[in-house]
């Protein structure tokens, strides 16, 4: 009866065929023509796990590791595996309460989800780790995971070695995405400067993850993985014992010590006071510690050795002697009749010595640090008739000062060095509207005025004197493991800069002799000698001012000292600055001597150890510090208060802080100058009256151009 419907069989077959063709067309579309699904599936299932290489170790010159790696433990939780955990015990071990526990659990779930591990507590302290490790079986879902951490075995060199921290957004941006959130990078010091060398090369492991983002195995058995290459170890010039000694000496003081090996430019020690325990910035409390350090008014995070701007004071005088000799405006036999001040200009420049003959010749002038002699010599350099203009003279002087490494960065292998300041004509033109002469900046001759230098520059300049004209850029790193000539970053430090070799050896010998005299008969003669070592030194006493409570206040002089030793074949050059330490030979000198002795003889004599303790225990922190700290704290307390409107924060931030006395703080009473010689009426007769600079005709032997060059 339905035979006539047989054609419908064909229709049904066609319907089947049609649907199958549609399915096949869509399959072709998905599988053959759109390539995106492969990538999507790959992204779904493969996770590129970064393998961090171990960071390079930093060694001192004797092969002791001063910055090393160690393992600490994080407590990690996988929320979905947490079952029957003894919460109260865990809280007790971690020293947290239940609310904090719940908060952290919620945070872990929020951050990484229920199926992936998140850090519950990072960097467990050793005792907490030990207790937890015993009880781990009671806490299913919790794990102890290793994490490499930097450690400073000698607790030394905080500002030099630097520290590592998590990369912030600006670093990530600058690195073009090389660093990712959570990566650790060097944030200061050698850690930052040698980041590329120390960090090594990261590896990648392709891991398979499932739909809950759990890692379940290696992708393709790891054939696409790249291995991590460990960071290279740095071998430095640092002598860790000298560094520790220098840090001990700088305790309770603001200032800096820099010791350089003149023959190589290698930095033996660099200390900035006050410093801090570098391990504060590695452990579990690093964030809190960093906060404390950054809010300290004495600014321990600030490396004064490369960033502190100090007038070099009298330590500049040997350099000026060399400039004068090279320019031919003075000779070794030049002298000046100084009676306690230089009266060549309107305002007298005072001198610490007034007995006749203390500046009878160049060596004596250096030995006794005669201000008159060097004020005069500076004017002679600037007003050199050869140039017919003190503008040209000042520019010439500036080029010499720059050649000594002043006024520009030395290029040391540390980040964010400062260059100091060597004033030029435009600076004076601006200030004095073009009307100035050599008298305007006469105190440059004694290392004051607008001349500002960093301790590193001062030390480097003394290296140039010790080397008789050349220097190597100061640097810490001698070599690193696996260094090759092609890819090294250290070539710039192996180039000898012959900046001032054109100055005659006899000029150098005269000045070096003068510096040697400093330690024998001169300003540093009272510092006990080191037997068998001939030291050449120069003291400095730098006047300085600071704006305190809106007033430019004169503070106690900085104690400055430079030296190198031994005299022949110098092995170490040291520069020391102690802020507000007074006379150069009082604090900076003995400290430099101790550093030299420790470095050259590898030990200290027994009686010297007592001297180390005496210096170390002396507190020379300036009197303005507590008040500045108080201002800083109260400003912050007020800021927090204005944010929270909670008066408790004021108490919190000012807890234990400095309470200002009802009366004005004592800053104003700070001694103005170390030498209380004001009452002595200075005899005017012995000093030349005002002389026209162009026609300077100094008494005795200050004849120009009759000195053999």
């Amino acid at each position: 009866m339905s035979v006539f419907n047989q054609s419908r069989s064909t229709i049904i077959r066609l319907i089947f065929l049609g649907i199958f063709i549609i399915i096949i067309a869509q399959l072709m579309n998905l599988q053959l023509f759109s390539g995106k699904y492969k990538q999507l599936a790959f992204n779904n299932a493969v996770f590129a796990k970064v393998v961090y290489p171990s960071r390079g170790i930093i060694y001192d010159r004797k092969g002791k590791a001063i910055l090393n790696n160690t393992i600490m433990f994080d407590l990690v939780v996988t929320p979905n595996q947490v079952k029957n955990v003894d919460t109260s015990l865990l809280c007790a071990l971690l020293q947290i309460d239940t609310t904090e526990f719940n908060r952290r659990m919620a945070e872990a779930k929020f951050k990484n989800g229920r199926y992936r591990p998140s850090v519950f507590r990072d960097l467990l302290p050793a005792d907490m780790y030990a207790k937890l490790d015993e009880n781990m079986w009671k806490f299913p879902g919790f794990d102890l995971v290793e994490r490499p951490v930097r450690v400073y075995p000698f607790n030394t060199g905080a500002q030099v070695l630097g520290y590592i921290g998590e990369a912030d957004s600006s670093i990530i941006k600058r690195s073009n995405g090389f660093y990712r959130l959570g990566d650790y990078v060097g944030r200061s010091g050698l850690e930052q400067y040698y980041e590329g060398t120390l960090m090594g090369r990261r590896g990648v492991q392709y891991m398979i993850k499932d739909n809950k983002n759990r890692l379940v195995g290696r992708y393709e058995n790891g054939i696409y993985d790249t291995a991590a290459i460990a960071g290279k170890n740095l071998r430095t010039y640092i002598d860790v014992e000298v560094q520790q000694l220098a840090e001990k000496l700088m305790k309770n003081k603001i200032g800096a010590i820099v010791a350089i090996e003149p023959k190589t430019g290698g930095i033996i020690s660099m200390v900035s006071g006050p410093d801090f325990d570098p391990n504060l910035l590695t452990g579990p409390e690093k964030r809190a510690n960093y906060g404390k350090l950054s809010l300290d008014a004495s600014n321990p995070l600030f490396n004064r050795a490369i960033k502190g701007q100090y007038p070099p004071g009298s330590t500049y005088k040997p350099l000026e002697a060399l400039i004068g000799l090279d320019e031919g405006v003075i000779t070794p036999r030049s002298g000046i009749a100084c009676s306690g001040a230089y009266y060549g200009c309107n305002r007298p420049v005072k001198c610490t010595e007034k007995w006749p003959g203390h500046a009878a010749n160049l060596r004596l002038a250096i030995a006794h640090s005669c201000n008159s002699f060097f004020s005069n010599a500076f004017r002679l350099i600037v007003d050199n008739p050869e140039y017919r203009s003190s503008r040209v003279g000042l520019t010439k002087w500036k080029s010499y000062a720059n050649a000594f490494g002043y006024g520009h960065r030395t290029g040391v292998d540390l980040p964010s060095e400062d260059g100091g300041n060597i004033p030029d004509t435009t600076q004076y033109d601006k200030e004095y509207r073009g009307s100035w002469n050599s008298c305007t900046m006469v105190t440059i001759g004694i290392g004051q005025d607008k001349m500002l230098t960093t301790p590193l520059q001062i030390a480097n300049a003394i290296c140039i004197v010790a080397n008789k004209g050349y220097y190597y850029t100061p640097h810490f790193v001698k070599t690193y493991d696996g260094e090759s000539q092609e890819d090294t970053v250290l070539n710039i430090y192996r180039k000898q800069h012959e900046v001032l070799t054109h100055i005659s050896d006899s000029a150098y010998n005269t000045v070096i002799g003068g510096m040697n005299d400093v330690t024998i008969v001169g300003t540093a003669a009272r510092i006990p000698k080191i037997p068998g070592i001939d030291i050449c030194a120069k003291t400095g006493t730098a006047e300085n001012y600071k704006v305190l409570d809106g007033k430019r206040t004169k503070l106690k002089d900085h104690s400055v000292f430079v030296c190198f030793a031994p005299r022949d074949n110098p092995k170490i050059a040291v520069a020391v600055i102690v802020e507000n330490g007074g006379f150069g030979a009082t604090w900076a000198g003995p400290m430099a001597y101790l550093v030299v002795e420790k470095y050259l003889t590898d030990s200290l004599r027994a009686d010297r150890l007592a001297e180390v303790d005496r210096i170390s225990n002396t507190n020379l922190l300036p009197s303005w510090l507590p008040r500045e700290q108080y201002k800083l704290d109260s400003a912050r307390a007020y800021y927090r208060f204005s944010l929270t409107k909670d008066s408790n924060v004021i108490r919190k931030y000012l807890k234990g802080g400095y309470r200002p006395p009802v009366q004005e703080p004592e800053i104003k009473k700070a001694p103005a100058k170390p030498q209380p010689k004001k009452d002595n009426a200075l005899p005017v007769t012995q000093v030349n009256p005002m002389i026209d600079p162009e026609k300077t005709n100094h008494p005795k032997s200050l004849n120009r151009r009759n000195e053999p060059a």
Partner: protein, 447 residues
């Protein structure tokens, strides 16, 4: 059959048997690929009966035994008991209401003992197939009569309606596939066309602005009147017919579809339909959101997660696929339900376009073979039954594969012979082997 039949293999269509075995084998392999875990002992896995692939192997064994029993059965048995089976099926379906267990949002499953589950709506396909064939083959049935057509439709659709009442829309839709049988047996083509047009209208309603669609419908109506103006002059009724159709269409578009979506369908079903046609479903109230969450839609905008992951799995297979056990999408559980409804992903990812094409080829061969067998039957019963088998299998294949590749909404119906599940495999085996049994006796006229 009174004559002695010395061997059961006489008259058996071996091509179908082989296709069945191959497909079931592919099924076990795919389930293995989808559920095997790195480090498992393969042999132990197959013997333990704890893994899904070993269970499926067991089901295949049971199904084979059942198949042999069916082949040993007299073919008259099926015609004789067709209505009885149907009645039993209906009873089972009704039994669900008091005894169902609520699993995954459906209320159509009876749990017997601990492990065994029975889904009457699934099993009923066989009974409907038999009963429909029985009804169509009755001597007194004149299928050109509307009354007969209505009765046939009722036989096919009543289990479907009961399934809908049990929140099992997917299986209910399967029963609509029996219209293909009726079409073959003389149901006017117009009904199929009307049905198809209605489907187009519903989809268009969902996709288009109501007013735009109304204007288009009006334009079509006016065009029809213009084209048929001569016939209309002769027959006034034609004009009313066209206007009537227009009114119905606009009514459906304006009122019926919104009513259905608001009151009849569950929000998760609406969402699936919306996801398929690429529209965003915005739940109207908190109850809707709660319903969505109860039915597996994890997040607000993650409704098409399954389909997206499934498309990624199939698409990433490329031309030749990643190989057995190499598919990252299916190995690491990105595709949900991948051993049951989304089993095709495993094949698409593991064996690529070629593998999928071969599988589709096997299915197509199976369907063509069934249609061929149907046409060579002397008895209407066998033919109608064969078409029933073809329709059901075809519908399952088409909807299942289309939903994995994003052409159909996600309605949970299994891929015949391949998807994991004892009930499904046994049902299809019975369905197919009754056909083979009937075909072996194709010289007889069965009533």
């Amino acid at each position: 059959m009174n004559q002695h039949n010395p061997e059961i293999s006489k008259g058996v269509d071996w091509l179908l048997v082989w296709l069945y075995i191959i497909l079931a084998g592919i099924g076990i392999m795919s389930i293995f690929a989808a559920t095997f875990r790195e480090g498992d002992n393969v042999l132990q896995g197959f013997l333990s009966l704890k893994t899904d692939y070993s269970r499926q192997t067991l089901y295949f064994g049971i199904a084979s035994i059942l198949a042999v029993f069916i082949l040993l059965t007299d073919s008259k048995f099926f015609t004789a008991t067709a209505n009885l089976w149907y009645a039993a099926g209906m009873f089972l379906l009704l039994l669900v209401f008091p005894f169902h267990t609520n699993i995954k949002g459906t209320e159509s499953i009876i749990k017997i003992g601990g492990a065994f589950q029975l889904q009457p709506a699934d099993v009923c396909k066989v009974f409907v197939c038999l009963a429909l064939a029985k009804y169509l083959s009755r001597v007194e049935t004149d299928f050109s009569k509307t009354q007969s057509q209505l009765i046939a439709a009722a036989i096919a659709l009543v289990p479907g309606l009961i399934s809908i009442a049990q929140h099992e829309t997917g299986l209910a839709l399967v029963y609509f596939s029996f219209f293909l049988v009726m079409f073959r047996e003389g149901l006017p083509a117009g009904i199929l066309i009307i049905g198809f047009s209605a489907a187009v209208l519903v989809v268009a309603t969902l996709l288009m602005e109501p007013n735009t669609l109304a204007i288009i419908l009006t334009a079509i109506a006016l065009l029809c009147i213009y084209i048929m103006r001569r016939q209309i002059k002769r027959k006034r009724r034609l004009l009313f017919l066209i206007i009537g159709i227009w009114v119905v269409c606009v009514g459906v578009q304006r009122f019926a579809v919104p009513f259905m979506f608001d009151h009849v369908f569950k929000p998760y079903q609406v969402k699936r339909i919306y996801d398929t046609i690429g529209k965003e479903y915005v739940p109207k109230n908190a109850a809707d959101i709660a319903d969505l969450e109860a039915n597996g839609a994890k997040k607000k905008d993650d409704g098409d997660y399954n389909v997206r992951q499934s498309k990624i799995a199939i698409g990433s297979g490329g031309l030749i696929g990643k190989g057995l056990l190499k598919g990252t999408q299916t190995r690491y559980d990105f595709v949900p339900e991948q051993r049951t409804d989304f089993i095709f992903c495993t094949i698409g990812e593991g064996f690529g376009f070629l593998g999928s094409f071969i599988l589709l080829g096997l299915y197509f061969l199976l369907l063509m073979r069934i249609v061929t067998i149907a046409e060579r039957q002397r008895s209407v019963f066998s033919r109608a039954y064969a078409y029933g088998v073809a329709s059901v299998i075809f519908f399952h294949i088409a909807i299942n594969i289309c939903m994995t590749i994003g052409l159909a909404p996600v309605i949970g119906i299994p891929l015949p012979f391949i998807s994991y599940g004892g009930t499904s495999l046994l049902t299809f085996t019975v369905l197919l082997f009754i056909l083979i049994r009937l075909d072996a006796d194709r010289q007889m006229v069965l009533r």
